[in-house]
Chain length 325, copies 2
Amino acid sequence: MAVTTIYDVAREAGVSPATVSRVFNGISVSPEKAEAVRRAVDALGFVPNRTARTLRTQHAQAVALVIPDIENPYYTEMARGIEDIASEAGYSVVLCNSDGDPDKEASYLRIAASTHMAGVLIAAASPTSDLAPFAAGGRPVVAVDRRAGDVDAVVMANREAGAEATARLWDAGFRRIACVSGPADIETARERALGWADALRARGVEPEPALLQHSTFRVEGGRECVDALFSGVDRPDAVVAGNNLLGVGVLQRLAELDLAPPRTGVAVIGSLPFATTPADFATVVRLPAREMGMTAARMLLERIGGDDEPPRLVTLRGEVRPAGR
Amino acid sequence: MAVTTIYDVAREAGVSPATVSRVFNGISVSPEKAEAVRRAVDALGFVPNRTARTLRTQHAQAVALVIPDIENPYYTEMARGIEDIASEAGYSVVLCNSDGDPDKEASYLRIAASTHMAGVLIAAASPTSDLAPFAAGGRPVVAVDRRAGDVDAVVMANREAGAEATARLWDAGFRRIACVSGPADIETARERALGWADALRARGVEPEPALLQHSTFRVEGGRECVDALFSGVDRPDAVVAGNNLLGVGVLQRLAELDLAPPRTGVAVIGSLPFATTPADFATVVRLPAREMGMTAARMLLERIGGDDEPPRLVTLRGEVRPAGR
DNA sequence: ATGAAAGCGCTAACAG
DNA sequence: CTGTTAGCGCTTTCAT
């Protein structure tokens, strides 16, 4: 109850508070005193007060991760990668869900600053997201998944992934390939759609505007796009889904319309870890989310360590494989 | 860079630091001074230092949420519910992934204590999880999904859910109904399996031990159990899956073996938001994860507010509905 | 190697 | 209503 402090430990061990602090910070202390301190710590069940330490050093042993959708497995997979690297280095990860809302995002950035977070990893809600509330003062930020501001970034090869997904459908014999992507103001959504157009043009086909749908990056968006695409007369025979959730929506709705693969070709950009259909049901361009997180976390740790090289950009390639694994 | 403090604001506004503090804490201050402070705050871009505030008050405006698997949509849905309630009350939610490891869990609890978290919500890794590292000192803890220690808890009606899932398969005409559940040392897994047995006995059938499989609460576990159950001669004709991920694994593997519903009956306890099959493919006993989170968060806020009634137990009922929605 | 002492930025008595 | 003052628990010079 009555919290024990380094003063209690110091008294119990017959040393000064400074010495107790030194023991905890690995600063040279004579073996006898160190031992006495350790005994006192055990006896009193002392746990150092991180808040005090943070206030004094202006540096918490924690980094914040700001993502637009905590319910998207893509981001939780990424979060796992980040956590593994960060915790190895003794940092906690504080997960913040911006919900794609720039205001919430800004608020989290301010909180991160005012709680002395050592750094921030962010999948920005918008390309114009202002990182200054945290980055001002030289605090390190690394952008993940989506570029933002003038900081390090780790992103996927989105355009190539879009082209690759389209190419696979083409190779499977489909010729009217639609594309369902996320909001046009999100870089990843645009790039993947551009990849789709690239692949068609490379095969001598001019992409039809009617075959490109921009929607939300969510299951419901995929369902709606299928309804839009398959209600008219000039139906597509295949669909490229711009992210994992859109892919789920597309597959769900196609199944309900009795148009599921192989009747309709489907290629998804992103993994489907919770698909309930067999692995070869749809083509999947797997995006290495976990690896992206790990890479970004390592970069952030370097920045925290004082690295001040110019901003770097790392691009990770997707990989074609059976669904979900 | 040079952080501005309430002292800077005070000087700029021609008042004392205490008055600045009062403005931020909604304590009565004369309109003129309040206005002067507000102007100074804007002019200097002052952001209050939460670490200092927390150190002084021994109370962070944040609660920790400890869960065993951040990649399980069940827990992220719950996390959303918690976040909505907590943030409404001005609290941040710090998400901690214990990975089902009691050591990691204990470590997070210690960190929560030493960072003065206002409270903790925990889906305990084990029924013997020790909450003391945080709860000692009277700090409030609410258990979610799984009971733990002698604190408030919000859980699902697991046994009833197991029985309900089984009953639906029975009503659909299946008579050799297997059960695939999580680790036998996890309360939720045991309870759901007990519900399965209840339902069979209620129909005059003694549950066969060979038809009950305990595994991990993960996709791979569901796949393995299907292999075990369907390799012999006395195959089941239906399967109750003890959680969402097991359900995914079961459905995946059955599809690969060409035994997917309706050839085999499948009932899943928990939602399948990312299923790629139509809604009526499998029976789903939806568990209100979001609501569980919201309820637990409200209880925690009450405790933080000083409520010290004896521990409460809230049980939420599942609901039968088409898959995933 | 060790101790004394001065804060990190804020809030909460306590006077006035 | 408002200012002064004394810490919250820790780290870090600066002496010794």
